[in-house]
């Protein structure tokens, strides 16, 4: 639908200096973000981080305290929800209970005063798009959770918005259906080419679906980047922690240049790591991190260029993987190691000595 060049060159949403207060509570503290046309963009964060507030400001529910939002180059300040080029999929889906599926999907079209045939054609097209073509006459209370979600999607997409806003659309579905809908949502977005903004607290959902993710804490954006980027190079302990397991190790800065740091860490020795985004010198201490799956168990006489030895103090079995908790002499906290079970990691006895291999490139320096 959209070639990457134009997608990269044209911002669909420009948010600058956006603030929102409810009484004394600052829900958003100066947010600035750009989202490109055709991008699948996620707002990820724990509950209360302001991600839903931000989405609602984009939709036009409530007025910002300061700052501006522009959509497709037009300032949205003071423009109510019914005159914005956005449509929303609500967390509760908000399917009108007194209407059937077709009437729900056609709800917004009625305002456009299309001729009847065109209106019906667009409703049908939207329903087919979400594979609900056969259920047009069903009432809202005769639909399953997944079907309601599709109706909500069709009802928003039929308006041909410039931006589709999704407020935790999958959180009410059970795990299996959620995973299936994730795939469909991704395909749908590619097919229609509309900019999607997804609000979620589920890091796997954000990583699996998005072109880019903004991680939010306490009304601020902590990091923006591609899923791979934010997972592999989190700027702070908080971001790293939120995105999955991470081992934290204290390190001392030995040298520093424009882009990288040379660090000394007990057990890992001297390593070089890129400076984290927004790095500010805070003395000689810094946190180094390594993901549990980037540590590998060395069996029998296996050798690796970079290895570290310790003792297994605990073991957790997760089916396809086992997590070992390994105490390393000289470390403040034990390391967590995730190992697939195909070589028998689930049989390593607690208390046994163990050696772990690591890639120094997997060590990331982080702000606190």
């Amino acid at each position: 639908m959209l070639d990457t060049v134009s997608a990269a060159s044209k911002p669909m949403i420009e948010i600058s200096g956006l603030r929102k207060s409810f009484g004394n509570f600052e829900a958003l503290k100066s947010i600035s973000l750009n989202v490109q046309e055709g991008e699948f963009f996620s707002l990820l964060g724990p509950s209360g981080c302001g991600k839903t507030t931000l989405l609602r400001l984009l939709a036009g529910f409530g007025e910002q305290t300061a700052g501006t939002i522009a959509i497709d180059g037009q300032d949205m300040t003071g423009r109510p929800a019914n005159r914005r080029p956005t449509n929303m999929v609500f967390q509760s889906y908000a399917i009108f209970p007194h209407m059937n599926v077709e009437e729900n999907v056609g709800y917004g079209l009625k305002r456009l005063k299309l001729d009847r045939q065109e209106e019906q054609r667009r409703v049908r097209e939207a329903l087919d798009r979400v594979e609900l073509g056969a259920l047009g006459k069903r009432r809202a209370n005769e639909l399953s959770g997944g079907q309601r979600q599709r109706v909500a999607l069709a009802r928003a997409l039929v308006m041909r918005p410039k931006v589709l806003l999704l407020d935790e659309p999958l959180s009410a579905l059970d795990k299996k259906l959620r995973e299936q809908m994730q795939v469909e949502l991704r395909h749908l977005q590619k097919a229609v080419g509309i900019t999607f903004i997804l609000v979620t607290h589920d890091q796997y959902e954000a990583l699996a679906l998005s072109d880019r993710v903004a991680i939010m804490f306490d009304g601020q954006v902590a990091q923006v980047g591609t899923p791979k980027d934010i997972y592999q190079n989190p700027v702070s302990r908080k971001v790293a922690d939120f995105l999955g397991g991470m081992n934290f190790v204290d390190a001392e800065i030995a040298e520093e240049n424009g882009v990288s740091l040379t660090l000394d860490a007990a057990g890992f020795g001297r390593v070089r790591a890129p400076k984290p985004q927004g790095y500010q010198s805070m003395g000689r201490q810094i946190t180094l991190g390594i993901r549990p799956e980037r540590l590998r168990v060395l069996w029998d006489d296996d050798q690796a260029e970079h290895q570290i030895g310790g003792q297994v103090i605990d073991r957790h079995y997760f089916g396809e993987v086992t997590q070992l908790i390994v105490e390393i002499p000289g470390f403040k906290a034990p390391l967590a190691v995730t190992e697939t079970n195909d070589f028998g990691a689930d049989d390593i006895p607690v208390g046994s000595a163990i050696r772990l291999a690591y890639d120094p490139d997997a060590l990331v320096a982080m702000n606190d």
């Binding site: 939709a59 036009g60 529910f61 109510p80 929800a81 019914n82 005159r83 956005t86 449509n87 929303m88 609500f90 967390q91 509760s92 889906y93 908000a94 009108f96 209970p97 007194h98 709800y107 917004g108 305002r111 456009l112 809202a140 209370n141 005769e142 959770g145 309601r148 009802r155 928003a156 308006m159 959180s171 009410a172």
Partner: protein, 273 residues
């Protein structure tokens, strides 16, 4: 213990039967005597007649009173429901200073004796130099209907997901369009219940109407006036029978609505955010 339970088990149906008889037998006598050929309501019955019903049709004073009652009932129901909608929406949707006191003030007429309300309204009307009229009765009835209509509507609004209205606005609809296309239709069962409850309360209200209606009697006032003449009694019985039928119909209608609404909310309740 078992003995007691046994005794209870055999006596309970008898007690329940007697209780129901006591409650409803007098009401059932109404239609029976209304078709009795004799004007005196005693057994044995003298023969079947529909004369008393026929006489109602030609009774101008009665028709006038019925008309007054319907007018007052419909007006009170509409006013109480409109005010109830505003109050219920404010109470359920917004958190504002004075929300609890306001709710208490709306509910207060439930606990005030009607005769006090009637006398105070009468005094105010006199002080302001307003003549007694049905309009004053309507005001009085709105006052006593409002607690009931507000209660019904508050529970309606509590089950109403605010994101319905947001979804409507998001899809391009104006505030007024949202009201007529989404809010009112979804709340229709509660609104109809409120109308019915208010109408019924107004229809058989006596004290306020007695104090304030002046020369325009409502149906209860008319009936009360008729009771002083023994010869008019069968007519009153016939009228009572018709009113009984009308309330049964109204009740059935209300129950059907309630079930429909209950079914909708029940099936809709599958989602918990």
């Amino acid at each position: 213990m078992t003995l007691l339970r046994k005794a209870g088990a055999s006596w309970l149906p008898i007690y329940a039967g007697l209780y129901l008889l006591f409650l409803y037998l007098p009401v059932l006598l109404l239609p029976v005597f209304s078709v009795n050929a004799s004007a005196i309501p005693v057994f044995p019955l003298k023969g079947l007649t529909f004369d008393w019903y026929r006489s109602l049709a030609g009774n101008d004073a009665l028709i006038n009173a019925l008309w007054n009652s319907l007018l007052v009932g419909v007006a009170s129901a509409l006013l109480a429901t409109v005010l109830g909608i505003c109050a219920a929406r404010a109470i359920t949707r917004y958190r504002f200073r004075g929300r609890r006191p306001m709710t208490a003030v709306i509910m207060a007429p439930l606990f005030l004796p009607e005769i006090i309300i009637a006398i105070s309204l009468l005094m105010v009307a006199m002080q302001l130099g307003l003549g007694l009229s049905l309009i004053l009765v309507i005001f009085g009835h709105v006052l006593i209907c409002l607690p009931y209509s507000a209660t019904v509507l508050i529970s309606g609004f509590e089950g109403f997901d605010p994101s319905f209205e947001e979804a409507s606005a998001d899809l391009g609809e104006t505030a007024f369009g949202t009201l007529t296309r989404v809010t009112l239709p979804i709340l229709m069962p509660a609104i109809i219940s409120s109308l019915l409850v208010s109408f019924t309360i107004s229809l058989d209200e006596f004290i306020i109407a007695f104090f304030l209606s002046g020369s325009e009697p409502t149906l209860p006032i008319y009936i009360w006036g008729q009771l002083r003449f023994p010869a008019k009694l069968p007519g009153v019985l016939a009228l009572g029978t018709l009113m009984l039928l009308a309330s049964l119909l109204l009740l059935t209608f209300a129950e059907m609505l309630r079930r429909r609404a209950a079914k909708r909310t029940q099936l809709d309740g599958g989602f918990h955010a």
